[in-house]
């Protein structure tokens, strides 16, 4: 198998993992909404920090612990970098819109700070991950 074929396979795998992670994050925040244990000091509340930190890091560097050298360059070529940029832009807009939605919703139905922050962070990261996965799959 050539480097190009290997990179293509890894790129497809990366897109699939990111799509799955985006869905899991969205499901997580929905299931955990209103449950104080998942937003307070403790293992369950702390796991959110790890989860968001991990996926932010993966989005930032384009796939976590990747191979070095030529394979890394192939995985993060111009098209992939452009896709990542577009995905991060969508994540930013999703964060702003979700923050506004939480602010307005709070006028009628109070939302706990922890829940609101989880909605914003999960929504932003999930939107970016799903967008990235979609762009990578669509342009294959």
């Amino acid at each position: 198998m050539t480097d190009i074929e290997k990179a293509e396979r890894m790129s497809r795998g990366r897109a699939a993992v990111m799509a799955l992670a985006g869905l899991v994050l969205a499901i997580n925040v929905t299931i955990q909404y209103g449950d104080v244990a998942y937003a307070s000091a403790g293992p369950r509340g702390g796991s959110w920090l790890v989860l968001i930190g991990l996926w932010t890091f993966i989005l930032w560097n384009g796939g976590g612990l990747q191979p070095r050298g030529r394979m890394r360059a192939l995985l993060n070529d111009e098209l992939s970098l452009q896709n990542r940029g577009r995905a991060l832009a969508l994540g930013f807009y999703a964060a702003v819109l979700l923050a506004l939605a939480c602010y307005v919703a709070n006028w009628w139905q109070p939302i706990a700070t922890g829940d609101a922050l989880k909605i914003v962070s999960a929504g932003a990261i999930a939107a970016a991950l799903l967008r990235y996965a979609w762009l990578e799959w669509r342009l294959r």
Binding site: T2, I4, E5, A7, L74, E78, L139
Partner: protein, 69 residues
């Protein structure tokens, strides 16, 4: 009038009997990038355009040109 970018990458590649993967290997990008450039979905940087021209033994102007939509 808005301008678009036309490219003759596919023709030049076919003339040299190169596959997308082979050209990708030569310029150091993924096959997907070559495919999207050929289909006009992705506009490459100047650096990549120069690398493509070098790999295909032609000028950048013969690969890419402006069109009026």
């Amino acid at each position: 009038m808005p301008e678009g970018l036309a490219n003759r990458l596919r023709e030049h590649r076919a003339e040299r009997e190169l596959t997308q993967a082979a050209l990708a290997e030569q310029v150091g990008v993924s096959r997907k990038t070559i495919n999207t450039v050929e289909n006009g979905v992705f506009v490459p940087s100047t650096t990549l355009a120069l690398k493509l021209a070098r790999a295909l033994g032609c000028t950048v102007e013969s690969l890419f040109s402006l069109t009026e939509d």
